[in-house]
């Protein structure tokens, strides 16, 4: 998704959305700075309202328009996929699979993250290659292995639908364009936030918001488990990248269609040896900096109970598996983690904290009427 599916007449690496994204990024970056300012390594914080870029204010009409586009199969080449094919409301906006769904006959290569609280992330995707929701939104549309739709064609497909034309006029004062499509979708995504999670009530002083075990788990999370060294602040993320060396899935490694996807993304990222690449280089594809080899973004842990399986490739099926992974000191040869020596009870309490404390109220999403 990083990258244009070769469909745009513009440069492969910079979709048109980048133009508007550059404007919005300034606003978003400022908001993120303010937001990050409240985060200190080692401690957790309550979730404030999400930052909204000055160039794309939230309005009810825009949010509804974005929601329709989010569920609309028109946004894919053959009418099979919408954003909601991989970010399913019933599954906390993931798709519950290790490797995400894909455009028919192709294979994806990474796990679909939840979109709940994506509004807070300073950088999007497992490797952080998109800077805002506006910039991100058109990537999956263009991506050959996701929605596979040419953006010029997208615009024309939307412009022949009178209801959409009227809605864009009302919301933006003009006709449908790819930039406005992205802005509307981003506005909808900014409504997907955790509210009233037990952790937030706990941090506001309500001791009873967490069970005794979850409180002990909180102690381990911020203490002996060292989790809060990377998962801190309101989002439980340092916004950084670490190579934990989560193992590759041997099955995926052998799958020729996944190999095609991996090589395609690597090629578009100007990775010279893309033809022989056998693993996911992570952040390295973005920075080409050796220290970022197989590094992935520290994800938020909010809503974690609902977003299994875990990690960029979905290799860890349960929270127990994740805790075992960290307790062992992470994957082979990593230098980011060291063994923790947690007792069975400590692991249990930590799991209870993750499972109980971090889920907000249900986001009741009703599927809108699609014109």
């Amino acid at each position: 998704m990083n990258i244009s599916g070769g469909s745009s007449r513009k440069s492969l690496r910079r979709p048109d959305s980048v133009r508007i994204a550059a404007l919005l990024r300034i606003g978003a970056a400022m908001a993120c700075l303010l937001f990050a300012g409240s985060a200190t390594a080692g401690s957790l914080a309550r979730l404030p309202p999400p930052p909204v870029p000055a160039g794309n204010p939230q309005t009810p009409g825009k949010i509804l328009l974005g929601k329709k586009l989010f569920f609309d199969r028109r946004l894919s080449g053959d009418g099979t996929m919408s954003c909601a094919s991989c970010h399913i409301p019933d599954q906390a906006y993931t798709d519950g699979q290790d490797i995400s769904q894909s455009y028919p006959t192709t294979r994806n290569w990474r796990n679909a993250p939840t979109l709940i609280n994506a509004a807070y992330a300073g950088a999007l995707f497992h490797d952080g290659r998109a800077a805002s929701l506006e910039e991100q939104a058109l990537f999956p549309v263009m991506s050959s292995f996701e929605m596979n739709l040419n953006l010029d064609f997208l615009e024309e497909k939307i412009r022949i639908v009178p209801e959409y034309v009227a809605a864009f006029r009302k919301v933006f004062g003009g006709e449908p364009t790819r930039e406005r499509i992205a802005m509307a979708i981003a506005s909808f995504e900014r409504t997907l936030v955790s509210s009233n999670a037990p952790l937030d009530r706990f941090l506001a002083g309500d001791e009873t918001a967490l069970s005794r075990e979850a409180r002990k788990g909180y102690g381990i999370f911020t203490g002996k488990g060292k989790c809060a060294g990377c998962h801190f602040g309101a989002l439980l993320s340092d916004g950084g990248y670490h190579a934990l060396n989560v193992p590759e899935n041997p099955q995926d490694r052998k799958d020729p269609r996944i190999a095609a996807t991996r090589r395609f993304v690597a090629k578009l990222s100007q990775y010279a040896e893309y033809r022989t690449l056998e693993e996911d280089p992570g952040r390295y594809l973005v920075t080409k900096d050796r220290k970022d080899w197989k590094a992935f973004r520290t994800p938020t842990l909010r809503e974690i109970a609902r977003t299994a399986p875990y990690m960029h490739n979905g290799m860890l099926a349960t929270l127990e598996d994740v805790i075992e992974f960290f307790d062992r000191g992470g994957g082979d040869g990593n230098r980011a983690l060291s063994p923790l020596g947690l007792t069975g009870e400590e692991k249990h309490d930590l799991k209870t904290f993750l499972a109980e404390a971090l889920s907000g109220d249900d986001i009741a999403t009703t599927v809108p009427e699609i014109p």
Binding site: D72, R73, R74, S82, S85
Partner: protein
């Protein structure tokens, strides 16, 4: 699904996408075959041969599974089952279905095509819960 014979049942409902030219007629064909007691035979042929679903092909399939083709043609051309299909479509919209296939396993929603193992896991969970 054979391995669960007797323990599970499958119900098919139709949600043809309006931008696919042959979807609706294919649903009509399946239900018309059903009038002659051969819904599942036609269902299987349609899935196997998709997207070859033009009228000529459908009539060919009807002959293949031994239907009374004249009756079948009348039903197909007369859109005898448009009411059933429209009812399914309304139900789909009311349930917030936005994509096909969408499956409900004892009410648990599964959107999109999945590896067999994925369905199997849920079916096993449901069977265990019923025990």
């Amino acid at each position: 699904m054979k391995e669960y014979r007797g323990k599970i049942r499958l119900v098919v409902k139709h949600f043809p996408y309006r931008y696919r030219d042959l979807s609706l007629m294919a649903s009509e064909a399946a239900l018309s075959a059903g009038d002659q007691g051969k819904f599942w035979e036609m269902h299987r042929l349609l899935l196997r041969n998709s997207p070859r679903l033009d009228r000529g092909s459908l009539l060919g399939y009807a002959g293949e599974i031994g239907l009374n083709v004249k009756k079948f043609t009348g039903s197909l051309d007369g859109k005898a089952h448009s009411g059933n299909i429209e009812r399914d479509r309304q139900l789909a919209l009311a349930l917030g279905i936005y994509s096909t296939p969408t499956l409900f396993i004892n009410g648990r929603r599964v959107v999109g095509e999945r590896p067999y193992e994925y369905f199997r896991r849920i079916v096993e969970e449901e069977l265990a819960a019923a025990r």
